[in-house]
Symmetry: C2
Subunit: 443 residues, 2 copies
């Protein structure tokens, strides 16, 4: 695979671009001729430590090959969790009006606060954190959760020890590798030597056994979980906060899927008393309001959270935000504010309900085949167990025989083996059709 | 100063929030009561190395104090370079239409490519890099130059040696400190021990003496320069590229003000033959199209640029962009594309011309007072010399006697002493009024 071909071809799914080219020294003849000059700048050793066979690119390659082999097949993509439903027009109208106003003397705005417009920060606090004690000035508006994960890693630096759920969303580990926290990738286990992997499988109800979990500085914890779809209960989060407090750890809590919670599970770590002393929360408008391409998120850093020397974490995070970021787009922030208005909030909840109904259809389809199915109730992801089987083999079989793209659980870490993740982000007719195909394949 | 008061008060200029609170252990009584729990997570030593008395916060504090003392004065802010003129409606309409379309099944878009829409990448290549050999796939669209500087620093890591112009835009050094490249701040010189400061003053025509400049891995170089307003000539940039090539260095070229060039100076480092083997270019729509609050920029990483082991830098940067970023807002990218249409480009150039006329007014005002004035011709900043005087004293005198906010040159590094920077980003009437007040003060 040739890098320049990949990046200049817009028809190939974006994720393919993630993959470093392994045969880079022997590629294009044209490049070789020009490649006479090498600088003396050393490649960052941390970058060398990143896995070369990354999950989503590998899926995209297989998807691409499948399309080549089956040009007439109607592919259904339930792999990457990408929203598909239109944004309610009360929200798009707010953004369009803000954009239009920028052409007027009265409506023009230059730089905003790096931390976000205070009106939006207050609205997030009042709408999504009511009763938790989280205040507007503790909310930092961003261009998305993934971006904030890397800014948090810049904040923390290389000298902290990190734990992640296994399986987990790859960005926690990858950014950990980039800033130099991870140690080496061990071929045998598929794990980085200095990262603690907290197994979260069906056997422990997708919640780590904290009695055997070693102390780390940082605990990345995603609930509702990507990929397992499991939401931690109030009691489980209480245990987690207690564990962090006893160990002097900081929980980095990812609540990007909180809007999908249907039961009594907390939607924020800050519903747990004492969490403000031990946790940071990262969240997003992406899956909550269909803002995957619009880009808006936020991070909560409580004033109570202190480093080991008593210095408030919020002050360093504020400095990072002001130095490494320059605020989310003012047009997009106007949309975020509209999402939190009474009518806007109702409208986005209706879209979330649509995806939740999709998830229900997937759960029923797989369950009807006698398979163990997890997730889907509190999350837009369904996590299906194929005991004793390789998740890549299951992925391949489903792709080949049904033309449905899923994600092999192994891609989220060793703990995802034997599982596949199926996304509920799609149009309803795709969901029905995919369910039918699955039933034909596995019946 | 109390952090929570600052961040919850939107009337205080944003930059004030940059300043770490120095007396944080003895602040709010309420906080002290709650501050029972300190985690055991060490504060990142790099964050401790950041200057506490940062430029813009200090200015904001003085501005704030001045307003308190002079509540009836009409303050004119020519400090922070923030655009003030409306965005041409051909561009805002494109953004509004894109936003509106997101509420339709046909127009909805989820995740885009992390690198940006290929149509926009191609348009940047064709409009702004014609004839340089820069291709669309070498352009990475971002949410702004400042954000890309920090992503580049994540890419480079702690094990590189860095040179900056002195004076220079503070973000290069601050991000260098955050990733651990800088060494310690030396009180005596005001310089970080491991950073090379390349003096750029009137005596060397604002271009460093490369014959005495030690080799570094990275050379941050901003042209047209912020703060001096000086644009490097073709011959100077040819020298710089040659210097980088001989030393095996990488130039990180910041061309955020390229649209302001009036003479024959290159608008991109890639106009210089051979630059693709030694340079990365960071640029922005902020000052070019009034997108300071809208947020859009780009970085060019040529395929020819290689690390010391021959590995292409573009592949690692691509990985960083895909892991630490998730693409610029699709609404905003639609605006960027409109800026590069024939009519859009003409419209934004007209706004640039407006600010250039402002700069001319400033240059004439200061020159008429017998002061040495630099910049203004190829940049929206005017750099005024007050020989033998402290730049902070000049700043204070101007503020107190004319109610005009400028920036003391010392804030951009030791090499900025004796100078002030005056921004041309303002309404015309402010420019005229500020000129009048200066003439009264210094005549």
């Amino acid at each position: 695979m040739n890098y320049s071909q990949v990046t200049s071809c817009i028809c190939i799914p974006k994720a393919i671009l993630l993959q470093p080219k392994t045969n880079w020294t022997s590629s294009k003849p044209g490049n070789e001729r020009r490649a006479g000059h090498w600088t003396h700048v050393p490649r960052n050793v941390n970058m060398e430590g990143l896995r070369s066979g990354y999950l989503f690119p590998e899926i995209s390659i297989r998807e691409h090959e499948h399309i080549q082999k089956n040009p007439n097949a109607r592919l259904i993509r339930l792999g990457i969790g990408d929203t598909t439903q239109p944004i309610p027009d009360i929200i798009t109208t707010a953004m369009a009006e803000h954009a239009d106003a920028l052409s007027t003397t009265r409506g023009y705005r230059g730089y905003g606060a790096e931390q976000g417009n205070m009106e939006l920060r207050m609205a997030i606090a009042e709408t999504l954190y009511r009763g938790t004690g989280v205040k507007g000035n503790e909310i930092f508006v961003s261009d998305g959760a993934q971006c904030d994960i890397s800014r948090l890693q810049m904040l923390l630096g290389s000298n902290v020890k990190v734990a992640v759920q296994d399986p987990s969303f790859p960005a926690y580990i990858d950014t950990s590798v980039i800033v130099g926290q991870s140690g080496k990738l061990e071929d045998k286990t598929g794990k980085y030597s200095d990262i603690v992997y907290m197994n979260c499988g069906a056997e422990n109800n997708f919640f780590p056994d904290l009695s055997t979990t070693p102390r780390t500085d940082i605990i990345f914890f995603c609930s509702p979980n990507n990929p397992t779809g499991s939401a931690a209960s109030w009691q489980q989060l209480e245990q987690l906060v207690d564990f962090a407090k006893r160990n002097g750890s900081i929980i980095v809590y990812d609540s990007a899927y909180a809007a999908y919670i249907s039961d009594e599970s907390p939607r924020s770590i800050f519903e747990i008393p004492g969490a403000k002393e031990v946790a940071i929360e990262i969240s997003s408008f992406s899956k909550f309001a269909g803002f995957t391409g619009v880009r808006l998120g936020w991070t909560v850093v409580p004033e109570e959270l202190k480093y080991s020397n008593g210095f408030p974490v919020i002050e360093d995070f504020n400095r990072i935000v002001c130095t490494c970021f320059n605020g989310a787009s003012n047009i997009v922030q106007a949309g975020g504010l509209a999402c939190l208005s009474r009518d806007g909030y109702q409208a986005v909840c209706n879209v979330v309900d649509y995806y939740k109904e999709n998830a229900k259809i997937l759960v029923e389809a797989f369950a009807s085949l006698g398979l163990k199915v997890y997730g889907g109730k509190n999350a837009p992801y369904v996590w299906v167990h194929f005991p004793g089987m390789s998740s890549w083999n299951v992925f391949n079989e489903i792709l080949e025989k049904t033309h449905v793209v899923t994600v092999p659980g192994r891609g989220f870490g060793p703990g995802g083996e034997e599982y596949i993740r199926v996304s509920a982000f799609s149009h309803r007719e795709n969901m029905m059709e995919a369910s039918l195909r699955m039933k034909k394949l596995f019946r």
